[in-house]
Symmetry: C2
């Protein structure tokens, strides 16, 4: 069975000038991957007639499905609609159903349909009108030149709704999709080449239809296994067998699979053992709390946080001893140990997690340069600490401390519940 | 003067399968934009010989500068190096300088050079070796087929260092760059089409060499003015004149320009007036504190936060009246008002900012559905509140509440200091 291939075209000068990050094509990739459609290319071009038409032309030779975002909307920098009419050689006409939907959309918000917005109900005659429930720029579906084309607005939640409600079901109904099975093993605390050395023998014996990729990111390396074949459950079994083989070689570093993140894994562990966590964050300024609370249902295991950004508040609001702060400084094993233990009690939690460091760019000293960070995790009877020596960039330091602290919490929970 | 055109090629199956977001090409775009190099296309392809070679071939017809990320590294899924040697018809040889750098890199970390890592010192003979100070995969610079080519690893901080230290200075020395001048006006609290209606007359009179684009994102719309010409200071003056004309039409919504974010603007206002802020976050779980503390120097104006995620801690740790919580609930104007006033005092701040809402997906009721959020900002003598009615998605709700709360704080500060 031949692969069903897709290309994603993102339109907008703002994407080329670096004013907006193209998160859309990433999300679309994930959706297509899940149903076995192979994304073969992503192309980003500007608001430029010639480049857009050239991209259409190339894409239709490479792909069965072409998904286009951007270049739609009420304002004048929008080009996609007239170009699609030109490309498919058809007129643009008012679609009464689209106009009604627009009127309803504005009525619900207590507003009149403006002239600019009404223009959005005028569509190429060869397209199928796809209502956009989240906004005003409609989706346009074409089956032309042997391909499927879908044009969507670039606003992420509008595009996502169109993909989920319309595009994915439609693709599933039109194509017999092949089986691709991915499994991602998530590791933390080991570098790419050391990981590769550990699993070399296993990698060498992988069958040809199972591919391995190393995906490093901040403090983590993901191992992605991709199996190609006809039968999904067969592939799933084969990959499970391979994982069973590799796991003993890397147990110490594996924290989860696929969509797992450190915060979801920690959340599951806490929930399963009916334990609660509280945080005292200094250099991370609320970031780790945000990671934990970004997970739905986190109120089941997260009690609260305090961010005492100055020594004064570390003492007055959290109760860190002024003596400790004076003698060892805020960025020290002693201070972070007290912070973890104190916040645990303050918020009646089972685990207290704390961070204190020099995030930078200012605040470094010869003894404690920028990137020096202490983290700690307290239980009822002990505090585990760790020193991280990170880099110069404030945001990376905050994020890496987040990875380190969540992993420390994970290990302490595992140790605690063994 | 002809535009100097660049194309960015990102290589990696993980980018097509949606397992990693391509933040690299976004960042590279920003750097090139700043020096007047026009990015004309971004192409993302998989770890596939045919696609990579095809992308090279197309790119060299469109661009003067071709920047390639990914497909380099110690492990076996890496393809770029042999393909570049093939494309430019040359061998791969050990570069002694590269090997020395690798040995030093590992020695500093107290590790031996592994065989896998040593292979990274073998490079195509036609390339100039560019040391990678942050990692082990070297940069490769080619001047071939009338183009400049630079291949870099995909790990963001390694790639960034190579671009900043080597690529940008090199491009500046090789090309006479034209003038492009961008100015972005940042607005909050008004939708794209309403904004377009407000400034239509102004937009109609813009000269042909100044382009306007609307860039909507969560709760914000950016207006980007792009001027093309020869003389940077001339363009800058013309754009400044246009901004002076449009500003009176949209004053209420403009919060900043260019790289300004609500958190940098709020930070500047606080610093200028020597005022401090503290936060009590419930539904946002530390997110707003994270935004504020992500800015270098925020310790000058940020005192601290508390995240009392349950009513118990809102009462015990922050001092919200149990009566208020019982009578009106945690998600209410009354509770959020107390939270803002109390956290202001607790952390000895001038402003107290608070959030409480139903972030979802659970926790909604008929009276307070998912997306119901109250925010408040307290000064020494009053509390300003606002209700937000947001959507169903937890993360969007958290982020939109962040935008709303920072904008509320901004307005209160402006009002206070007038």
């Amino acid at each position: 069975m031949a692969d069903i291939k897709a290309e994603i075209i993102s339109i907008g000068d703002e994407l080329l000038y670096g004013q907006i990050m193209d998160t859309n094509s990433h999300w679309i990739s994930q959706q297509l991957d899940q149903i076995g459609v192979k994304v073969v290319r992503k192309t980003t071009i500007g608001d430029n007639t010639k480049d857009i038409l050239a991209a259409f032309k190339h894409a239709e030779h490479r792909a069965n499905i072409i998904l286009i975002t951007g270049g739609l909307g009420p304002t004048r920098d929008d080009l996609t609609k007239p170009l699609m009419a030109e490309y498919f050689n058809c007129d643009i006409q008012l679609v009464p159903e689209a106009k009604e939907d627009l009127q309803k959309f504005f009525a619900r918000r207590g507003k009149e349909l403006t002239h600019l917005n009404e223009l959005q109900a005028h569509l190429p005659t060869k397209c199928t009108y796809v209502p956009n429930k989240m906004g005003t720029a409609p989706g346009m579906w074409f089956e032309e030149n042997g391909c499927i084309w879908m044009s969507m607005p670039g606003v992420p939640h509008e595009m996502k709704n169109l993909i989920k409600e319309f595009v994915i079901p439609k693709i599933k109904s039109l194509f017999k999709l092949p089986s691709i099975y991915h499994k991602v093993i998530k590791t933390v605390g080991i570098g790419e080449s050391w990981l590769a050395d550990l699993i070399r023998d296993w990698e060498d014996q992988l069958p040809g239809h199972i591919k391995l990729a190393y995906l490093p990111s901040l403090g983590e390396v993901k191992l992605r296994l991709t199996a190609f074949g006809k039968d999904q459950s067969q592939l799933q079994m084969e990959v499970a067998d391979q994982i069973e083989k590799v796991l003993p070689m890397i147990t110490a570093y594996v924290y989860g699979y696929d969509q797992d993140s450190l915060e979801t894994v920690v959340g599951r562990l806490l929930k399963a053992s009916n334990k609660k966590v509280a945080l005292a964050e200094s250099c991370t300024g609320g970031y780790i709390s945000h990671l934990i609370t970004s997970i739905a249902g986190s109120s089941d295991y997260y009690n609260g946080s305090i961010v005492p950004y100055h020594n004064e508040f570390k003492a007055a609001e959290l109760g860190v001893s002024r003596d400790t702060l004076e003698k060892h400084g805020a960025v020290s094993e002693e201070t972070v140990t007290e912070m973890a233990a104190l916040v645990r009690k303050k918020f009646k939690a089972d685990y207290g997690l704390a961070s204190s460091g020099v995030a930078g760019p200012g605040g470094g000293t010869p003894e404690k340069p920028v990137g020096t960070v202490w983290i700690a995790c307290a239980t009822h009877n002990q505090v585990t600490t760790k020193k991280l020596q990170l880099g110069e960039e404030r945001m990376l330091n905050i994020q890496r401390t987040g990875v380190g602290a969540l992993n420390l919490l994970r290990k302490v929970i595992l140790n605690d519940t063994v």
